[in-house]
Symmetry: C2
Subunit: 333 residues, 2 copies
């Protein structure tokens, strides 16, 4: 027996689509097999054939449904077409406005649409477009953060907006364990979306040094110093590494385009140079000055104390939530 | 029957000490009579005789215990002495480090010490000094905000730190209704502290125009443009009023000391001029350009839809929490 599922999945737990390659087939299959909602991350450029390979590789590792996340700020028309052709369970969308047309196309293909939004206004647009669920991102989230408010106030406002329309609200940002999960449920959410916690798993494609830092470090900052040239106007939350603390006041006119190359990486099958201040986190293939690369993390990183198998993360959340509710709420109302 | 109380009070609900005069005897007595932890706000200057009058006036309005809040960034030695002499139930402290000596003196007088902190490090200092409970302020809070992280991640970290030492943790910031209350309990807190919700009550001493704005407006910003000369380095969260939006980029070198007077107010019995960019919210006595004065609010302000009697705020929180737990958690674990 588990905690209530949503969207046809066993649980209301979503693994956020994570940076290039981090939530690849291995992590996604592990999370899907555990009964949660796992999401591949589509490349930030048009490459539908590669994306098709990613999806099919994932299908070879699990019989369970899963999703694909697309960042709408980047070219994505052909990638989107591929996702619908492959009829994955969930199309996750971020950083761009969901249209009725996209929702219509997805529904024709039997794909559910789940945008991640950061404000009440954005939630309203998404609901009006006919989406199947909404991920509400709070300011406490790691990686690129569109949310300007914290979950404790933002989730209830979105829930009040959606009212009785039966669209699940999923809370994202700073949630790591069963306490965050149950808190989100209390706020009116029906599910939670976790990023940083899933980066710190055995199956994530993150560089071991990055995973180690997630366990060791506890503090983050909301900044815009990384990836300004490639994706301007996209602030993010990062670990306060020594490199970050040295450069956090990078002048506004400066960006990665004029910086020295500090490493190399294979990203979605392509060889890439990583300049200083690139928005590219180190993955398993990355070489060079790892400690000077961006390391995204949400505010909950101080609660991460170990690298776990992804299935264990899901299990702890579900069993932990049940125990917490039992101990704290069931006995003495 | 109520939700679990803390510190000898009926409930784990704290009314934050609010700006000069806002949580005066009338509001404090109303909250105390409702069974919650009500806190007078001591003046920001030494005036123990006036403070004694405030405490005694409150005692004339309620037989229930209540507290006094002192901002340690301002002169407070004599005020503190007065609070201990008057043996109020709770000494709330903010914006300064609690010492073992203060805790010892308070305990000698039978007064419990409850600091408001904004980080895990500050929580550790407070616990080591022997305090009776800790208010953890999240970044989503209104007024002056020392918290840099959101509650969803910060509360569990403080709870983990304090562990089994039996010291209640109280969550502050963005909490307005039973959803925030139960979420805080899920995160491991034993109580909640509400500011903005209590400003928007019938008994609060806030100017009617300020209360009206709290009902009408939904968005806030974390800023430092108000009160820079009087209390430097003290950022705050405010309503995004038209005045604020016009001046939010006030240059760093500018402050209220060189600005025109835009109104007058009686604050803790003293007549004051209010210059533009003063950190002084309009209270019932204030005249002048009310719309251009600072209006503190937490991120939860979008959930406030009415001006209520303070007792009604407490009742809704308690009954709402019980119903929410019953409906959402008790039936189907």
């Amino acid at each position: 027996m588990g905690w209530r599922g949503i969207l046809g999945f066993d649980y209301g737990i979503v693994q956020a689509p994570l940076g290039p390659d981090i939530s690849g087939p291995e992590l996604v299959a592990a999370v899907a097999n555990a009964g949660a909602i796992a999401i591949l991350r589509a490349p930030d450029w048009e490459c539908p054939d590669y994306l098709r390979e990613l999806i099919r590789k994932t299908k070879s590792l699990t019989n369970k449904p899963f999703g694909v996340g697309i960042v709408m700020a980047f070219p994505h028309k052909h990638n989107l077409k591929c996702v619908l052709e492959e009829k994955v369970a969930i199309l996750q969308l971020y950083w761009g406005q969901v249209t009725e047309d996209i929702v219509f196309q997805a529904h024709q293909a039997g794909v559910k649409v789940v945008p991640q939004i950061g404000s009440v206004e954005e939630a309203k647009h998404a609901v009006d477009a006919g989406v199947d669920a909404i991920i509400v991102q709070g300011h406490e989230a790691g990686g690129h953060v569109i949310g300007q408010e914290a979950l404790v106030a933002l989730v209830p406002r979105v829930v009040d907006l959606i009212g009785s329309r039966g669209i699940p609200v999923i809370a994202a940002g700073g949630i790591v364990d069963e306490r965050g999960y149950v808190a989100a449920l209390a706020l009116g959410a029906q599910g939670v979306c976790l990023g940083t916690r899933f980066v710190a798993t055995e199956e994530s494609y993150a560089h071991p040094e990055y995973k180690k830092k997630l366990v060791e470090m506890s503090n983050t900052e909301y900044t815009n110093i990384y990836g300004r040239a490639r994706w301007p106007g996209a602030p993010h939350r990062v670990l306060k590494t020594p490199f970050f603390l040295e450069w956090r006041n990078l002048p506004d006119h400066e960006n990665e385009a004029s910086q020295p190359v500090i490493g190399r990486s294979t990203i979605h099958g392509m060889e890439k140079e990583i300049p200083r201040f690139a928005g590219t986190i180190p993955n398993k293939t990355t070489t060079g000055d790892i400690e000077s690369m961006v390391m995204y993390a949400g505010e909950g990183v101080g609660l991460i104390e170990d690298i776990l198998p992804a299935a264990q993360v899901v299990k702890r959340l579900v069993e932990g939530a049940q125990n917490l509710i039992q101990q704290r709420f069931t006995s003495s109302v």
